[in-house]
Symmetry: C2
Subunit: 545 residues, 2 copies
């Protein structure tokens, strides 16, 4: 009666079919939310308020127009835009054609943008008026003759356009009843994000639908977001697709509060006016809020949750956030891991600790996301995990479905990144006895002085403790005797003063003497668009000292 086999009874007649197997994609999230909560606000931008039904209508129209204009499976559509509603919409509309969304860092220069447009083989570019100038230059440099879609934004003073075609034309052309593409394979590319690349040409990180789906849910799970978050766009959407949050907010039936420029006043205004519950940003954003005038901070009585990454939030910042009633979650990830994939999962017992102890615990990057399957700190050669002693440094490795497909048209870099079946992050960390990891440095940022490794992050941590210091970055300075010595670049707080000698003495009083900087340079620090200090520039400066 039964078909028996050498294998197992489960190997027979239990195959995939259209009813029981569906490609995982975040595109289903917006479809569902628009159907269930059509009148709920999806997007706020100045005076513009659009419901999920309206947003879904616009998204379908744009997808339809893109398809009619020939965008299809595996074709790149580049976008240069700020955190405006159209930028949110293309996170759905482009993949709904089968195409791949390539959001470009808006602070890149024309050469870098031209490189990306060519490397990505962009078939179309969508441009926000704020960046029309640099986009036009980039297109000229690239020599690409592709359709340009101008987003028109009445709130943007300079209405410069490249040609005459507009996003509104797409809306007018598109038919919301056209069929859109549920991916045939969840492994299909959904987006392409170029790493900011401190040196050399940027690399194109390819995301797939499966990863975008699962990390979007991971954000809800590990941040404990609940339903209907009101999310403020302080984090650029061009950055790892806004850490997957456009898709997360769609899944959670939340509201996206758009924001062109990260300034304290509009942030506080929107937190109050829109009752913002969640936002993300580098510690520099938190610092901006902490240092805002008291009057601006008043009048917030609801709970606000912040996710921060890029560097550990200093104790003083955490204390200011605490006073505001803002709850800070520290996360970590890379462009290659869809944004955050590691989180400093909090323990309720830790709430009873004093602020400095809390800050020490929260400075750690933490543990894997629920949807990340492997995280380890290990020897970069042997892949042997380091002991969990809080001291032995190793490289951070990731494994799981929220790790990129690879670098576009760059098999050698992909192979290197995936050697041994783990993604090599290039970040150096220790593991504490409780399994939480803490980053000590980027591999390339480590300073080797007299044969001893010095973590630039450790030295920076001490500098940040000095009351006059606003920001600090430590790099290696070539030295005949020691090989390298630590060289600190320091920005001071408004009105604060301190001498080089005093600051070095402060460091020596707080750490092993050989780790203390030998040189200090005062001034403001060069940063990437996401608030990361550009150490490669400082490293060049240090060489020239």
């Amino acid at each position: 009666m039964n078909i028996h086999s050498a294998h197992s009874i489960y190997d027979h007649d239990l195959d995939k079919n259209d009813a029981n197997y569906s490609a995982m994609t975040p595109l289903g999230f917006i479809q569902r939310t628009a159907a269930i909560y059509p009148t709920k606000t999806a997007v706020v931008y100045g005076d513009v308020r659009r419901s999920w039904a309206e947003t879904w209508l616009r998204v379908r129209k744009v997808a339809s127009a893109l398809k009619r204009r020939g965008i299809g499976l595996g074709e790149t559509v580049s976008v240069i835009a700020g955190n405006i509603p159209e930028m949110f919409e293309v996170h759905f509309a482009v993949p709904m054609t089968g195409g791949v969304l390539n959001t470009i860092n808006t602070r890149l220069d024309a050469d870098a943008i031209a490189f990306i447009l060519n490397h990505a083989e962009a078939r179309m570019v969508i441009v926000d008026p704020e960046f029309a100038g640099v986009a036009e230059q980039a297109l000229h440099i690239s020599g690409r003759d592709i359709p340009i879609i101008n987003i028109e934004d009445p709130t943007w003073p300079d209405g410069h356009k490249i040609g005459s075609d507009t996003y509104d034309n797409l809306l007018a052309e598109g038919d919301e009843n056209d069929e859109w593409v549920w991916p045939a394979d969840e492994w299909n590319a959904i987006s392409l994000n170029y790493t900011s690349g401190t040196t050399g040409d940027p690399k194109g990180v390819v995301y797939h639908h499966r990863g975008a789906y699962i990390n979007a849910l991971g954000n809800i799970l590990d941040w404990g977001m609940g339903k209907h978050p009101v999310y403020l766009w302080t984090l650029p959407m061009f950055h790892c697709n806004g850490w997957c949050f456009p898709w997360t907010i769609a899944a959670a039936a939340g509201t996206s509060v758009c924001l062109r420029a990260v300034r304290a006043e509009p942030i506080f205004d929107l937190i109050k006016r829109e009752q913002v519950t969640h936002f993300c940003g580098a510690p520099i954003v938190l610092s901006l809020l902490a240092n805002a005038p008291d009057a601006m901070k008043k009048g917030i009585s609801h709970k606000v949750s912040i996710m921060t990454a890029a560097s550990a939030p200093p104790a003083a910042i955490l204390e200011s956030m605490d006073e505001l009633g803002f709850d800070v979650t520290h996360a970590y990830g890379l462009t290659e891991t869809y944004g955050p994939a590691v989180v400093c999962a909090w323990h309720d017992e830790w709430n009873d600790l004093d602020i400095s102890e809390k800050a020490r615990l929260k400075a750690r990057q933490g543990v894997r996301y629920t949807v990340l399957d492997g995280l380890m700190v290990a020897d970069p050669e042997t892949l042997e995990p380091v002991p969990a002693d809080g001291e032995t440094m190793g490289e951070i490795f990731f494994r799981g479905n929220n790790v990129m497909r690879g670098y576009l048209k760059n098999p050698s870099s992909s192979e290197k990144a995936f050697r041994g079946g783990w993604f090599h992050s290039g970040d150096l960390a220790v593991v504490y006895p409780d399994g939480y990891i803490q980053i000590k440095d980027r591999s390339k940022d480590i300073i080797i002085s007299g044969g001893e490794n010095i973590s630039s992050i450790e030295v920076e941590g001490i500098l940040y403790r000095h009351p006059a210091v606003m920001e600090a970055a430590v790099v290696a300075r070539p030295d005949d005797k020691w090989g390298e010595t630590p060289c600190a670049f320091v920005g001071l707080k408004d009105g604060a003063t301190v001498t080089e000698a005093d600051l070095i003495a402060f460091c020596r009083a707080n750490m092993a003497h050989f780790k203390a900087p030998k040189t200090i340079v005062f001034g403001s620090l060069p940063k990437t668009s996401t608030g990361k200090i550009q150490k490669f520039i400082l490293r060049e400066q240090a060489k020239g000292l």
Copy 2:
């Protein structure tokens, strides 16, 4: 420079590897939670309290022992147990061997259990002392000569064992350092659940790791569970693997509060003592709590969330739950959909409505889970969706990753269930203009009287409104003139009385006359172990009237 193709730049050198592709499985959840929250309580059972570290240790030991005893890929391990810690543990330990967990309904008779053991080709059976008698009989009937593992429970008065081998032996034999099996393929079977089958032989529903993973997360997302739920096991774990909640609680780093018997007193005691935040159950469980003495209900000040399914919670029950401060979520699913896959997603605005209106809205099964990709009500022949008018009936169809692989060794039933690329639920429903669905009946429960369809659920809804009625079930009674007429079986509340004529008059006053029952039979109703009224028994009775 670039490899170009007829297809797309994304088709090259961006393949799956161990770093970026990992089989989705709920087994990673317990590993992660035990690592991050080792001292947090995982399981409570009477005086037994075990942390996640202890539970994970036990799970690894049991998995190791099962492997050493030869359990491997695609082999069935059957379990007959109540909601006790060992039952929770085997949800991880068995799949960690590559084996398939077959939890058996503990209220089945020996013949039915014997059928399952044979059909599932069980290689081992794990037995709770409460069910040792029936298990022994079933094994005898089945003729299977397989290892029997006795769970020993000091709190269970009758320590009957089948043979001498015990779960403690597995714990003693197993080595927690043995490697366990992360599934090579997320499509591999994780469990086998036999449908209660109102007639004919039960069918074995096969779940895979992918579906168990995604529906476990779906529970957190759509119930808005947050982190660290304290979950009371009022729902049998043998029932669709407890609606995937063993895996959900592991993912959410919660606590499983075990419970052998569903009685009001221990439920209220545990809610208070353990500060239970969540539990699930059929409306009969809610009714049990609503009708408990007031003294028992006192002393609960924290929020308790209940998920209910199987039938719509009546207004009176919802009102009682409201008074207790219990929040009720109405969900719907089948064994074939990993338990709940549809939920009556609540709108905050609805909180302002009066209780009867709230009950009317909440009686609807609702909308698809975030992780279910398709839900429709359609013509069972043409698969044409019905209009969303709240009136036109159709069959409910599911599509997505939380739909079963199929029925074990039953390709014809699987093919029928999946015809047209949708899972045919056999439930009849309408769709309201807002897209929410409401079940009107099982296909086979519909009554056809004088050519008119009568929904048995609609008639029952009216009966439940009568103050004397505790429970009601309506089935077709064969009739020479009308073909069929509605026949109601009614259980009255303690001390309440009503005549057949009065109750029929009450129905006629509240609905179309042709729908009112022609016959009423008073008495208590036969139920399945999960609280579902067994209409097939009543149908037989009605035939004999």
